[in-house]
């Protein structure tokens, strides 16, 4: 880590801590941005680095959301009665209960999706290419449809998560969720950055480039694929748990297992920023979130039209993403040695 990096990281850290006080009106948006970055970065672990393009990480996200809220309620009150009464009216969490429930809920929300990913990983990750993509798409939608039929978590009418207890002033709810999501973002960044410096990342890249050859080289690809997916699932579950508390209301197909929105968003953000890079998904998520919020605010109703057009345009004209474009433009900055003669020769050939 050189001097520039330390400067950059501490700058981002200071900005992150100061942001809710600098822009108090955008606290919720900033928290959502943190969650989006977490989702894009972890999608990138198996989507970008491993080459397994999943539409199904929404499964872990939704699972985490439901689990966190259910644990938070179920620890202190009967869950069935809570969902029946539509939430907050009958039972009230004390502040201690709320935070305690949230802490345990987040742990469960992170651990259970990881276990689920490990369990289904062996069957699902044996699929290659588009079969994997469609299979995970099916998983995500199936989870949404099935959870929409289960009574105890609210079925079709949704699940109200525990409201924030009355502590501090009006701002404290936003601040609490912002710092929670920012903390998870930092955690994710440190973990992913750590992973990307190890041999593990090289193995993932080997699997992406040619799985059969990687296997022939003696790498137990299945083991690494499952571990990669479990890491994704861990952070997706955490992000889902936070998002559930932040939104305050969970619906099976529109909030939790929202394959049409969140499930595509995470793929799109990673591709927009540049697949297979550390900073790509972060930049992509930020750009995407700004674009999305602008569009959602000023052209309400046309957002899905814009989203559809955006997907097509990005995928067709911009598959390398922002980082890929930068890399082509300034290869020196990425540590690539450019032979000037060779480059000139290529330009002349064109």
């Amino acid at each position: 880590m050189n001097k520039n990096n330390i400067l950059l990281y501490s700058g981002i850290l200071i900005f992150g801590i100061a942001a809710p006080f600098l822009f108090p009106a955008f606290k919720v948006q900033l928290s959502i941005l943190c969650v989006l970055i977490v989702l894009a970065t972890t999608w990138n672990i198996q989507g970008g680095e491993m080459g397994y393009n999943s539409f199904g990480n929404i499964l872990f996200y939704g699972l985490g959301m439901y689990l966190c809220a259910s644990v938070q309620v179920g620890m202190f009150f009967p869950l069935a009665e809570w969902t029946e009464s539509g939430g907050e009216k009958t039972f009230v969490h004390t502040p201690a209960q709320f935070f305690q429930g949230m802490a345990v809920g987040l742990i469960v929300a992170a651990v259970v999706p990881t276990i689920v990913a490990g369990l289904i990983g062996y069957s699902i990750l044996g699929l290659r290419g588009h079969y994997f993509a469609i299979c995970t798409l099916g998983l995500g939608v199936a989870a949404g449809e099935i959870s929409g039929g289960i009574e105890i978590i609210g079925a079709g009418q949704g699940f109200t998560t525990p409201p924030f207890p009355e502590v501090g002033n009006l701002e404290s709810r936003g601040e609490f969720f912002y710092f929670l999501s920012f903390f998870v973002l930092i955690l994710t960044f440190i973990a992913v950055r750590g992973i990307y410096t190890t041999r593990f990342k090289l193995i993932l890249n080997a699997i992406r480039d040619n799985e059969d050859k990687a296997e022939a080289m003696g790498i137990q690809t299945m083991k690494y694929k499952i571990v990669g997916w479990m890491i994704s699932a861990f952070f997706c579950g955490l992000a889902g748990g936070i998002m559930g508390g932040l939104v305050g209301y969970i619906d099976s197909t529109d909030v939790a297992f929202d394959g049409r929105e969140m499930g595509v968003f995470m793929v799109l953000m990673a591709i927009l920023g540049g697949k297979g890079t550390l900073w790509g998904p972060i930049i992509g998520a930020t750009v995407f979130h700004i674009f999305k919020e602008g569009f959602w605010t000023f052209f309400l109703g046309w957002q899905y039209v814009a989203l559809g057009v955006l997907i097509v345009v990005i995928v067709i004209y911009f598959p390398e993403g922002i980082m890929g474009w930068l890399r082509e433009k300034y290869p020196e900055r990425f540590g690539e040695v450019v032979d000037e003669k060779d480059r000139k020769a290529q330009v002349e050939l064109k």
């Binding site: 393009n53 069957s123 993509a133 099916g138 939608v141 199936a142 899905y304 989203l307 067709i316």
Partner: protein, 297 residues
Amino acid sequence: MDFMVFQYPMISVQACLDGILLGILFALIAYGMALQWGVMNIINIAQGDLVILGGYIAYFMYLYGIHPAWGVIVSPIIMFFVGIAIYKLVINKVVDRDLFISILATFGISILFMQLMNFAFGADVVLANSDYGTTMLFNNNVVLPNSKIFSAFISILFAICLVIYMKKSKLGRAIRATAQNARAAKILGVDTEKVYAATFGINAALCGVAGALISITFTIHPYMGLPYTIRSFMIVIIAGLGNLPGVAMSGMGLGVFEEFADYILGTEFRIGSVFLLLVLILVYRRFKLSRKREYLK
């Protein structure tokens, strides 16, 4: 869970017949899917949305007082040009790229179509009433709407026409040649670009027919597209590309499965069970293939 369907044999017969008639429709959509997958090597997530769009064309004819059955003729003609337009705008740029790119691009088209249809036609569940009445079978124990029988008949008719067209016509031969080897076909003077456009147009036209029939027999809604895509994908992977009897059989099998799932699990789990079946089939296929690979070693 409700096992009434096994206690009363007549309900089973009803479910089977309903499922088969429904499955023939699915097979028609899956045939279009297999066609474009085989020829252009793309997976079209927007397939179901093309179906729904075709359905809305028939529905609009119904609203303006024309019998919706005529939609079976009008809808494919309009959808053919819609398909060509989509090809010219988007698909021709993803044909020789990675499959995931085509999946994502058509996912974008799917979202776009969904929302545009929502704007244009509203978010209500609609159906075009054909007034065909019902047929009673087995001592009035089994009730079949005539519209379902009509739709199955029309689907089979269109499928047969298409198969003959593919076998006999010049374009059909060109399409089959491109599916076998696009490069060789190009060398031998086949305009592959035109073949691709025609393939996508024919696929969209098939979707249009199926959509018109669905609007007569069932209901349509702007957001109902994705399940049709998944069903057709599933049918194609069970049957394999270019296996027409297989497509028909697995389509009917899927229809019967769905009807039984509807009776046993309840209607709210119907779509979920379809998606879950997809996952199970893919996993089963993966283990079967991995055993084959080990055997080859």
